[in-house]
Symmetry: D2
Subunit: 139 residues, 4 copies
């Protein structure tokens, strides 16, 4: 269960495959079954009141799980989200970035399953929790 792509390889893949959003996300750490990625918050990501919007949190959870899967199977852009369940538990802190902590629970031949917790930087209690499944293209 080794990692196929490290932090640098994942960041490089994002820059190449998703240039329009790659600068929003900073891959921070990766192991065989965990991955951390930070969101550089920009005005585009905020809702009225200055907190990170729901769609932005969805995007952050989704990219965390996507990169977690790629870290294991390599740069296959065709891995796609099949489902995401997200619970919004606390209001994000205003004026700070966010961070996603992903945990891979299953990497099967056809399906990957993982959890993501989202945190406002500097806060101990998670803002949101997501449960995702990804479809993996046939090898």
């Amino acid at each position: 269960m080794a990692v196929t792509m490290d932090v640098g390889a994942l960041q490089g893949f994002l820059a190449q495959a998703f240039p329009q959003v790659a600068e929003d996300f900073v891959v921070e750490a990766v192991t065989a079954d965990t991955l951390s990625v930070a969101l550089r918050v920009d005005d585009r990501h905020l809702r009225p009141g200055g907190t990170v919007s729901g769609p932005t949190m969805f995007a952050l959870a989704d990219v965390a799980m996507y990169l977690m899967v790629l870290a294991r199977i390599g740069p296959q852009a065709l891995a796609v989200t099949t489902s995401c369940h997200i619970d919004f538990m606390r209001k994000p802190a205003a004026g700070v970035g966010m961070r996603a902590e992903c945990r891979l629970l299953k990497l099967g031949r056809a399906l990957a399953v993982g959890d993501v917790l989202l945190y406002s930087e500097g806060e101990a209690a998670p803002v949101a929790r997501a449960a995702l499944t990804y479809s993996i293209p046939p090898g």
Copy 2:
């Protein structure tokens, strides 16, 4: 079970409360327990390959449920999403808009529950299905 806000009132509320995204969404129809809203697709909404991105679909499902709740309880910007479960079933069609069809299943004092189906314009089979809950602020 009458509607408190009609199509025009909902569109006006969006324009006032969420000016940065209001032009993306066109409220098309509302009844006591259904609501239709269309997404005007823009480059910002697309992923590589030209189809609507996951976060955009999340945003469309979320705004449909939000407007459905407001249609019944009136313009309370503080209604917030507590959970969203979304299944991505088919690839969206490229180069066309999307439409959300929301169905309200429960409007309680504290919680609202609904379903949303997302369609690419001109297609009969839904692209995604979402199950949402909203927290309603105390009256």
Copy 3:
């Protein structure tokens, strides 16, 4: 999009493949994308207070989706639930049976997606809503 198994064939399959629970469920109607099944409520299905328990509602939603899939693909006992999201919206009525109304949203080669609404007999408002996915064994 024809139905491969009708009401009688589905009921017969249950009796043969799941004899210990088959008598709990009565298949009532099936079309290419809808299925109704009733639960004959027994003491085993109740929680203190006399209403249908959560696990029983889960079982009813699950069997409804399972039979919906089989109605289309034929008697393949190996179709398995991959996920179920269930929202409990109202307390079931005491002393009456329940009914599940399933709607098939996608039947792909590997995955089926559907919705189920659960009702207490005689009540118009649904007690629970479930969103399920099934994995379909390779043909």
Copy 4:
């Protein structure tokens, strides 16, 4: 954030409030934000083939979260499940018990949110993952 009910108090509460199922569940450990509970597998819990059934796994995840909430708020039988999202990831091992590991993510005034991983005894990889929310009755 102290625990209000310890292992013995939780087990005693189950026996009193849910006598028909209390013997199925053995509370093993509890802290302020984690709880472990084992299922004593009986024929009633199995599906054809001898593995634990989906409704039984739902029941185990649900009781784990219920006891986790009670451990913090005390013996309030009226706490009710509002939603459960469950992913079935691996086939349970036959002929052995199961264990649920619950993690409490939020305990608000009205809503509690947690995760549960289910394991077959002796296996390292989880069989299922559940994400639950509970409604907490007003104090």
